[in-house]
C-alpha cells in the first residue's frame, strides 16, 4: 500500500516520526532523519535502552574525532513502522549519536531500497510504495 508521510521542508534534512515496537508489542515513537547516503540504518543506543531492546550503553563509547556517529553493535529490531510501512525483523546498526541531533535513528538505504520512493519537496511529502512481487 502506498503511504504518504509529510515532512517540514524548512528543515535542513528530511525528518519524520517513526515507530519502534518492542518485544511486548508496545509502541515507542521517535524522530528520525532520512539519510539516503547511508547504506545501513542506525538507531540511537539511548533510544534502544529506553525501549528495553538493549540493556545499557557502555560508558566508554564516545564519538571518535572525524566521525559523527559511533557504530558499536548490531541488532535485529522485532518490528518498526517507518513512513507508514511495517517491517519485521529489521537489522540495524546500534550507534552513539550526538544528543544535540535530537533524533533516534538515521534511516538509510536498507529501508528505502525496499520501496518505490518519491520525495515531493513542493508538497513536503515522502511517498513510499512497496514493489509488487511477481
Amino acid at each position: 500500500m502506498q503511504t504518504v508521510t509529510p515532512f517540514d521542508t524548512g528543515k535542513h534534512h528530511i525528518c519524520i516520526d517513526f515507530l519502534l515496537i518492542d518485544n511486548t508489542g508496545t509502541r515507542h515513537d521517535c524522530f528520525g532523519v532520512v539519510d539516503t547516503g547511508a547504506p545501513r540504518t542506525e538507531f540511537s543506543d539511548a533510544f534502544l535502552v529506553h525501549a528495553g531492546l538493549i540493556a545499557s550503553v557502555e560508558s566508554d563509547i564516545s564519538i571518535q574525532p572525524g566521525l559523527q556517529t559511533q557504530k558499536h553493535d548490531t541488532l535485529v529490531l522485532p518490528s518498526v513502522v517507518i513512513c507508514g510501512q511495517s517491517l519485521k525483523d529489521f537489522p540495524v546498526m546500534v550507534s552513539r549519536f550526538d544528543e544535540g541531533w535530537g533524533i533516534g535513528a538515521l534511516i538509510g538505504l536498507d529501508f528505502f531500497r525496499r520501496f518505490r520512493v518519491t520525495i515531493d519537496y513542493e508538497r513536503g511529502n515522502l511517498i513510499c510504495e512497496p514493489y509488487v512481487v511477481a
Binding site: 517513526f18 521517535c30 532523519v33 559523527q68 544528543e99 535530537g102
Partner: protein, 80 residues
C-alpha cells in the same frame, strides 16, 4: 510526575532543549506527533532514557533545534 496533556509546541516552550519521555500521546493519521503527557525530562539524553519503559507506549523526543548537518564533518566549511 506531570499529568497535564500538552501540545508539542507547549512542550518546546516549557522544556527547551530537553529530552522528553511522553506517555498517553496522540498522533495524526500520518503518525505525526501531536500532544501527550510528559512523564520525565532531562537535558541529558541517557538520563532521560532510563529506566526503560518496556510495556508502556511512549514517545522519546528532543525539544531543541537539531544540530544534525549530515555525516560529512570534514566538509563542514563547504556544507550548506
Amino acid at each position: 510526575m506531570e499529568s497535564e496533556k500538552l501540545t508539542w509546541e507547549d512542550m518546546q516552550e516549557r522544556y527547551p532543549n530537553e529530552w522528553l519521555v511522553i506517555v498517553d500521546y496522540e498522533t495524526d493519521e500520518t503518525g505525526r506527533f501531536l500532544c501527550g503527557v510528559v512523564k520525565r525530562h532531562s537535558a541529558d539524553m541517557d538520563e532521560a532514557a532510563m529506566p526503560p519503559m518496556v510495556g508502556t507506549r511512549t514517545a522519546f523526543r528532543y525539544t531543541g533545534e537539531s544540530t544534525f548537518r549530515g555525516l560529512r564533518s570534514h566538509a563542514n566549511r563547504h556544507a550548506l
